[in-house]
Each structure stands twice: as structure tokens, then as C-alpha cells.
Amino acid sequence: MEKVRHEQLGLCGQTVLEMYEKMLLARKLDERMWLLNRSGKIPFVISCQGHEGAQIGASFALDRTKDYVLPYYRDLGVVLSFGMTAKEVMLAAFGKAEDPNSGGRQMPNHFGQKKNRIVTGSSPVTTQVPHAAGFALAAKMKNKDFVTFVTFGEGSSNQGDFHEGLNFAGVHKLPVIFMCENNQYAISVPLSKQLACQRVSDRAAGYGMPGVTVDGSDPLEVYRVVKEARERAASGEGPTLIEVLTSRFTPHSSDDDDNYRDPDEVKRARERDPLLVFGHYLRRTGILDDVREKELQEKITAIVDEATDYAESAPYADPEDSLKYVYKE
């Protein structure tokens, strides 16, 4: 039965391989950014490592030609799936002029790229949740068939904007999907000190929408629930709250020492690394083998190398350009 799991979901072998490739690209880019940070070449990294299965599984369940996404800072896998290139990610990491997110104005992983419908974000967490409701309200008002997808961490599910945004979307039955990437820690604060309820998805009940919890190490399972949520949204049934259980394999950011958790905890979590889980599935179903894997690794390493070299040697914006675009010019 398992052999056809992706087929049951309507995915062909080529698509699941593409999903794996995106996951691998996100991981390799992220790992490279840590190397660049530790060698003093870029000032900051904040990671997707451990979340790739959730991010790519979800992204592939959306319509990547018309849906809008409002990613949070870990969502490298989402933006790569929505058309941002490795080179563009690296340009942001180095803060260079050509960075399409912000022209080097924002810290890395503050994603935004209008042509790919990746909505600009900020650092204060959860502000994007009401924005997503606003995009969804626009879809409803203008009778457009796109769906809005917004992500955040479980820490964000304590912010007022989470509750205000979900309530607004619930009241107006808006075509929006709220996805929480629950990696169990808000920097150092564990889930037990963050939530008075057991699951983030329990909170959906208060806002009149279904709440679903799903294993983030299984991209196909994430794909399935996001696909269902998209169908609900597109058919006028309103929003869904999805909680994806993940682990973060790195410290919170390059400035965090990770001193608040047992290293064994991360080691155990890595046994359920979404890349391993999905890689095994693809091997069992005969889609991936050693030769393919090697080809993919080489291809991605070349992409990451090229992106790094390009971004490193690309120019910064002129300092005086800091004065531009305060208002429309």
C-alpha cells in the first residue's frame, strides 16, 4: 500500500523527487550559511533545518502559480518552493543590493518578493497573521480564486495578533490557511511554559475552524492536510489551523548557544529528520537510488557554490540609497 501513498495523493514520481530536491536545497543552503557565519563572512543565520518536510510538503499542496504566502523567518523551504532562487537567498544573507527581499535593508530570512507573491515580513513575530486575513479578505471581496498561506512558530500562537487574525478570518470565513511550525521552543522557552492547552491546534475551536496536528517529518502527510485545507478555503468553507510538529536541529539563530536543552534531545530528533524519512520513502518506492542521490547532491552543491560566489562578490547598495523609498517616488 505504502508504495502508492504519493500516488493516492495525486503526486507523480517526478513531483515527489522535486520535493526532495527542494528539501535538500533548503538544507544545503542553510548549512552553507552557517559555515559563512562561523567564518565571519555573514553576520547572522536563522535556520530552517528540521522544518523542511513541513515547509515543502505544505508549499507543494498550494497553487504556486497564484496563491499568496506570508512566511516567517524559518521558511526557506517555502520561499524556494515559491520561486525564490538560491542566489537570491544568498544575496540577502550577504545584504547585497540585488537582494530581492529588501536590497540589503533587512536581516536575512525576512522574506518578500512580490513577483512570486511572497509577502514582505518583519521581525516582531505574528504581525503577518492579520495581514494574511487581509489578503484573504481581498480574495473574497474581489472574487479571486487564490488562497493565502501564512506560517509562524508556536510561540507566536500566544501573541494577540494570532488570536485577532484567526478570529477575523473565522468570522468572515476567509480563504486562508494558518500553519504553525511547532518546534517545541520559543528560543529557550519550552512548550510547557508557553501553552496552557495541549496543542496549538486546540486553539482553532475558539475561532470556528478545524484544527489539525500533523507530523512534520512526513512531507506527504503535511501535503495531505494542507491540500485539504486549501480545498476547504477555495470552496468557501473558510480557514484551517494546521499545527505541524517539527524539531529545530540548530540553535534558535547564530547568536544562540542552545544551553537550555539536552544535546541528546536534538540527536533523537535527528533520527526523524524529514530528509531521512522522505529519502527512505523514496528509496522504498524506487524513486531514489544511490546514483540519483549522488547526482542531486552534486547538482545542489554546485548551485549553492555558485550562489555563494555570486553573492559574495556582488556589490552593496550605495549608502545614499538608504534614503530611497520612504514614500512613493
Binding site: Y68, D99, P100, N101, S102, G103, R105, Q106, H110, G112, Q113, K114, V119, T120, S122, P124, T127, V129, P130, H131, A132, A133, G134, F135, A136, L137, A138, A139, M141, K142, G160, D161, E164, G165, N167, F168, V171, K324, Y325, V326, Y327, K328, E329
Partner: protein
């Protein structure tokens, strides 16, 4: 030209812009069936329906945040905060989001949003229904803050705000809503945001102010004229960004400047006007810059004698103008 009230000018501007552009919509608490607690959105629900005149939950941060999302998509939301005092839960959305969207995305995204809010005292509103909140936002590049004084300015500036491609805070003086009436053309016109307006020309002293205080200054100027004191009154209209050129010009003209705000004195909008004049006009001044404002207490008290003590009024303005003229 019809004579209409300040609040009717708000309603007329909203109505005309919603007729003109189907991307314009309003949202806020009680703006729908009720037509707003002050009736600023009266008749819009009946004309445009619940899809474009949206009664929201009690949720200021989401009113701003949802409007920001819709604006980034390309709609033209006009959000209402029921009282300016209640805008505080939305400050993060306004300052960290709306004001920075164009800048932080290097011009990729924009946020053509208007947030309207009634502000100001003299209505027995106590601490939380009387405040002036403009100073909170008046050092946030990316925002524009409009505070009109007359029905004519209200209509022309609100229409301009709705057509503006950047976020505009539009603060309406709630005491002016029914107190102030004036001639307003029926036809379509817009006034420039960022431009002050010389409401009265004069030679001896200059008053620079905005909102309801413009009327106090104009009435006082009329009285003082009979005593041989000739006063200029400059209405800032847009308090952020300030119209530097107009301020410098009128300050230089008379060399005696009185700055008035209904807000607390410290760190107010007129503090920046004072700094600007000090920077550019020092050798043209014939008297120290004078400021008339509310005392530096947290907000306006409720009981009438206390409220009167707090508020700038015509008598206080007249006294200050005479004092400056006699310097």
C-alpha cells in the same frame, strides 16, 4: 456651495471615493449598520453593502493588520479606530508594519492604507476619549499624518489620503465634528498632503497650529485686529511630514511665533516646529518662540473645571497672542 459640518465632509469624501473606486472599502467597529459611533460612515452600508462596509470584531490590531494585508494586495482600505485613544493596540501594526512596508521591501511592496480616528478633547471624554495621539506617530518616516481643521480641508484631504499610495493617519477632531461648519464644493477635488495652509495673513505675529486650535486662533486674531494687532495663522493640516518651507516663511515674516497644540507640550508636534524655526530662522526672530499646549499630565481629566483647565481654548490663545505681540 453648500455649507456642511466637519463630519458630513468626512462622510461625503468616503462616499465619493467609494463611488469612484470599487477597491475602496471601510472597516472598523460599528461602521456598518450603525454608521459609526459618531455617524461618520452613515449611509455607506445601505449604499455599498456589507462587503465594502465591514463591521469588525473589537480588535484594533487586526483592524489595522487586516487592512494592511488588503492594502498590500492592492485594495484601498479605510480603517476606522473608534477613538484615537484606542489606536494603541494597533501601534505595532502601524509603525512596525504599515510605515515600513515600502522601505523594508526596497519599493517592492506598498501599503496604500488610510486609518481614520477621532481625537481631541472638550467633549467630557476623560482620559481615554479625549487624547491627541499624533506625537506617537510623528517621528515615523513612511507615515503621513493629516489633521484638518475645516470641512473644506477634510473633504479634499481625506480624498487625497485615500488616493495616496502610502499609509496615512487621518485624525479628525471630534469636537469639530458638529461644531465647525463651512462651505464645501459638491464636485470632486483633492488637496495636497504635506502642504500647510495660510488661513489668515498678517504682519505682527504668526500663529502656527492645527485642528480645532486653528479656529481659536482665527477668532482671537479677529478680535486682536481691532486692537491693531495683525496676526498670520498657518494651519499645518499635515503634521507629518511637516511643510518646512511654509513654516520657515511665516516665521520669518513676522519674527514672532506662537505655536499651539491641544496635545501635551513635551515632545509634541509643535516641538519639532520649534526646532525647525530655531534651526532656520534664529536671526529673523524678534521674540523667543512661544508655545501654548496642554500641561504635561498623562491625559485630559473628566470633570468640567478640570477639563477646561487642561484644554487650550480661545481665551488662552488670545492671551498668548497679545502677550507675544507686546513682547
Amino acid at each position: 456651495m453648500a455649507v456642511i459640518s466637519y463630519i458630513d465632509a468626512v462622510t461625503a469624501a468616503l462616499h465619493e471615493e467609494m463611488e469612484r473606486d470599487e477597491n475602496v472599502f471601510v472597516l472598523g467597529e460599528d461602521v456598518g449598520i450603525k454608521g459609526g459611533v459618531f455617524k461618520a460612515t452613515k449611509g455607506l452600508y445601505e449604499r455599498f453593502g456589507e462587503d465594502r462596509v465591514i463591521d469588525t470584531p473589537l480588535t484594533e490590531s487586526a483592524i489595522a493588520g487586516v487592512a494592511i494585508g488588503a492594502a498590500m494586495y492592492g485594495l484601498r482600505p479605510v480603517a476606522e479606530m473608534q477613538f484615537a485613544d484606542f489606536i494603541l493596540p494597533a501601534v505595532n501594526q502601524i509603525i512596525a508594519e504599515a510605515a515600513r512596508i515600502r522601505y523594508r521591501s526596497n519599493n517592492d511592496w506598498s501599503c496604500p492604507l488610510v486609518i481614520r480616528a477621532p481625537y481631541g478633547g472638550g467633549v467630557h471624554g476623560g482620559l481615554y476619549h479625549s487624547q491627541s495621539v499624533e506625537a506617537i506617530f510623528a517621528n515615523q518616516p513612511g507615515l503621513k499624518i493629516v489633521m484638518p481643521s475645516t470641512p473644506y480641508d477634510v473633504k479634499g484631504l481625506l480624498k487625497a489620503a485615500i488616493r495616496d499610495d502610502d499609509p496615512v493617519l487621518f485624525f479628525e477632531h471630534k469636537r469639530a465634528y458638529r461644531l465647525i461648519k463651512g462651505e464645501v464644493p459638491d464636485d470632486d477635488y483633492v488637496l495636497p498632503i504635506g502642504k500647510a495652509d495660510l488661513k489668515r495673513d498678517g504682519d505682527d505675529i504668526t500663529v502656527i497650529t492645527y485642528g480645532l486650535c486653528v479656529h481659536y486662533a482665527l477668532n482671537a486674531a479677529e478680535k486682536l485686529e481691532k486692537e491693531g494687532i495683525s496676526a498670520c495663522v498657518l494651519d499645518l493640516r499635515t503634521v507629518y511630514p511637516l511643510d518646512h518651507e511654509a513654516i520657515i516663511e511665516v516665521a520669518t515674516k513676522t519674527g514672532k511665533v506662537l505655536l499651539i497644540t491641544e496635545d501635551n507640550k513635551e515632545g509634541s508636534v509643535i516641538s519639532e516646529v520649534a526646532a525647525l524655526i530655531a534651526e532656520h530662522c534664529l536671526f529673523d526672530l524678534d521674540a523667543p518662540i512661544m508655545r501654548l499646549a496642554a500641561p504635561d499630565v498623562p491625559a485630559m481629566p473628566f470633570a468640567p473645571p478640570l477639563e477646561n483647565f487642561f484644554m487650550v481654548n480661545e481665551e488662552k490663545v488670545e492671551k498668548a497672542m497679545r502677550e507675544l505681540a507686546e513682547f
